[in-house]
């Protein structure tokens, strides 16, 4: 799952898709944690997943707000077009 998410992140140029791939990656990481916690029969895995979840929520909200701003400024969602570096 993580690899899929990574692939999606690298391939797609639409900003929304980039964020979605990011979510997938986070989810995959959390999945790994929970499975590990279940394997050792400890609650830590789930707790970490909880934190990951909270972080993902915060990140998504801020990220989407940024997406809105960027869309205003650049009038497109192309990640490559938003590079302002010259040379």
């Amino acid at each position: 799952m993580f690899s899929l998410g990574l692939t999606g992140l690298l391939v797609r140029r639409d900003l929304i898709f980039v964020l979605m791939s990011l979510e997938v990656m986070l989810n995959a990481a959390g999945l790994a944690f929970v499975v590990a916690g279940s394997r050792w029969q400890q609650a830590d895995g789930q707790i970490v997943f909880l934190f990951i979840l909270a972080m993902a929520a915060a990140e998504v909200s801020v990220g989407l707000a940024l997406v809105l701003q960027l869309y205003h400024q650049f009038k497109s969602l192309d990640v490559d077009a938003m590079s302002e570096m010259r040379g």
Partner: protein, 621 residues
């Protein structure tokens, strides 16, 4: 004689004063200071001479030590002056002739800028020359040596606004530098092997420690000869003197005729003991002198610039002096120096008058008929020319020249070949001298005279002419005087020739030169032009005109390669290390810059790749 140091100090102080404050004085004051210092020096010298002759000091030499200059271990040269007949004669001539030349230049340079600068340089030159002549040890001598070299450079390039003058000055300095380096090596050699720099001590130790013909002696003598050759413009370092005529005429008169160029002669005469220990070196001296005098005579015959002709004449006459030194006729060389100083300075000053009068015309083929226009210049020039060429009985030059030519045959190291060279040289001298005189003073007037010289310029001419005439009568007293310092010329049995015979030959040669010059340059001038139509003659003429190709040779062999090396080395290979570092950094920068694309996905890919690598490192150690 306790005032010996004043002789050197007066011109030196005057030079300093003029250098620092000269521009604030009026021209009169500057002239008074500049000329007066030399005059005072001359007076003191004459007083010292009188005292020396009437009440000679112990050992016929007077030493005055001022202070210790350097004190390093066993090397302790002091500033000391040494007065013996040799140096006495030389400083007499230098100060006396120098005084009249300074007086002349007071008017000659009146309309040039840098009046005080000129006198400062000239005085500094005289001070250095006197230091050289009066030096007690070789270090002080070298000090004076360098000083005169410096002043020569400054004075040749006096009119610095013209870059050609600067080039000529640099050429003079560099060529004499070559000689100076040889001399310095000689000084090092002498010090390390004999342990002292004091000239008299040195000579004594050398005769004690070294056998005749030992390698050390020959090497040291040859090295010192190298320095002498450079300063006196002999073969192979004679190339600078003709170009040095770019300086003002009084400079040419003082430095390059009468005094500085004879420093080499003085050096060899001073260290005569060394040369006597190295017959091979002495032979080289003689050969150098003989070759130079013929070579320069031929070149003088083809020149059309009056000053250049006189310059080559100087080279030739110093060749005579070297020839005399080389065959062991020490006093004859000094005698010739004395007479030469007078008539050569006179020739140059006369040339200066002519050049000024014709408004800076140097080409003798554009002069003519000045005998009526500039009478004083004409008569004095004529007297000096006859002295140079060797008019029998009446002039001073003939006595010294005869003595040298006779010694070339009769002295212990003499050789008939030297005698023949001397005679040929006399012929050439007569030829070119009268060529000059006939071209400049006779014939139709081509360039009109616009300026007549004033008294300040003509009086020195007359005085010098007087001495150029009577100078020959001091021959016997002079040689007697010099006997205490310079060894007598050993005269072997001259096979088949007496002195009179030699003198007659020289006189005949003089007359034939006179006649030929008269023919080619006065009566039938078409002959001269006709001779040049022959291509062979033209080639020889061009070759002699270019100083027998020495300039060309040095250019090809020395100057061009050095310039090429400098050009190649402009892209310094050492610099390449530093630029290489810079370029490496730049390359790294450029390659790193490619990673800063601003594309988010590239960065993410970078992170992914990095994590792959790290994982690999952990998983597969």
């Amino acid at each position: 004689m306790a005032w010996l140091w004043l002789i050197v100090m007066l011109p030196l102080m005057s030079a300093l004063v003029l250098a620092v404050l000269g521009t604030h004085f009026s021209r009169r004051v500057v002239a008074a200071v500049g000329v007066g210092s030399i005059g005072l020096s001359s007076v003191i010298t004459m007083l010292a001479a009188i005292e020396f002759v009437s009440a000679p000091p112990v050992g016929r030499a007077y030493t005055q030590v001022l202070w210790t200059w350097i004190n390093v271990g066993s090397f302790q040269p002091h500033i000391g002056f040494y007065l013996d007949p040799l140096s006495l004669v030389m400083i007499l001539v230098v100060t006396f002739v120098g005084f009249w030349i300074h007086l002349y230049s007071a008017e000659f340079m009146m309309h040039d800028e840098g009046y005080s600068r000129f006198f400062a340089y000239m005085n500094l030159f005289v001070a250095s020359m006197l230091t050289l002549l009066l030096a007690d040890n070789l270090v002080v001598l070298y000090l004076g040596w360098e000083g005169v070299g410096l002043c020569s450079y400054l004075l040749i390039g006096f009119w610095y606004r013209d870059p050609m003058n600067g080039l000529a000055a640099r050429k003079a300095f560099i060529v004499t530098r070559v000689g100076d380096t040889a001399m310095l090596l000689g000084l090092f050699l002498l010090f390390t092997s004999l342990g002292t720099m004091q000239i008299q001590d040195l000579m004594r130790r050398a005769t004690e420690d070294w056998t005749v013909g030992s390698t050390l002696a020959v090497t040291a003598a040859l090295l010192l000869l190298g320095g002498a050759v450079g300063k006196s413009a002999q073969l192979p370092l004679q190339v600078w003197l003709p170009d040095a005529m770019a300086g003002p005429t009084p400079t040419s008169a003082l430095i390059h005729a009468a005094t500085m160029v004879t420093a080499g002669v003085y050096l060899v005469a001073r260290t005569h003991a060394l040369f006597e220990l190295a017959p091979a070196a002495q032979f080289v001296v003689a050969v150098t002198g003989a070759a130079t005098l013929i070579l320069a005579g031929c070149s003088a015959l083809t020149q059309h610039d009056i000053k250049r002709a006189l310059a080559y004449s100087t080279v030739s006459q110093i060749g005579y002096m070297f020839l005399a030194l080389g065959v062991g006729a020490w006093s004859a060389a000094i005698f010739h120096f004395v007479t030469h100083a007078f008539f050569k300075a006179l020739l140059f000053l006369g040339a200066g008058v002519i050049i000024e009068a014709l408004r800076d015309e140097h080409n003798i083929f554009r002069m003519g008929g000045l005998s009526k226009q500039l009478p004083v210049a004409f008569w004095t020039f004529l007297i000096a020319g006859c002295s140079l060429a060797g008019l029998p009985f009446l002039t001073a030059g003939v006595y010294s020249k005869d003595l040298i030519i006779w010694s070339a045959w009769a002295a212990a190291q003499g050789h008939p070949a030297f005698w023949i060279a001397g005679v040929i040289g006399a012929l050439l001298t007569s030829l070119y001298t009268f060529r000059l005189i006939f071209r400049v003073f006779f014939g139709p007037i081509q360039t009109p005279v616009t300026k007549r010289p004033g008294y300040v310029m003509t009086v020195p001419l007359v005085i010098l002419a007087f001495f150029a005439t009577i100078g020959g009568w001091v021959k016997e007293p002079l040689i007697l005087l010099l006997q205490s310092t310079l060894p007598m010329t050993i005269e072997t049995e001259a096979a088949g020739m007496t002195e009179t015979f030699s003198e007659v030959v020289v006189a005949l040669v003089f007359l034939s030169g006179l006649y030929l010059a008269y023919l080619f340059h006065l009566e039938k001038r078409e002959l001269a032009e006709g001779a040049l139509r022959n291509p062979v003659a033209r080639m020889i003429h061009a070759w002699w005109f270019a100083d027998w190709g020495f300039d060309w040779l040095y250019d090809r062999v020395l100057v061009q390669p050095i310039l090429w090396v400098a050009q190649v080395n402009k892209n310094d290979f050492i610099d390449a290390v530093y630029t290489g570092i810079a370029r490496l950094t730049e390359a790294m920068y450029r390659s790193l810059r490619l990673t800063q694309t601003g594309l988010v996905r590239w960065y993410a890919a970078g992170i992914a790749a990095g994590s792959v690598v790290f994982l690999a490192m952990v998983v597969f150690p």
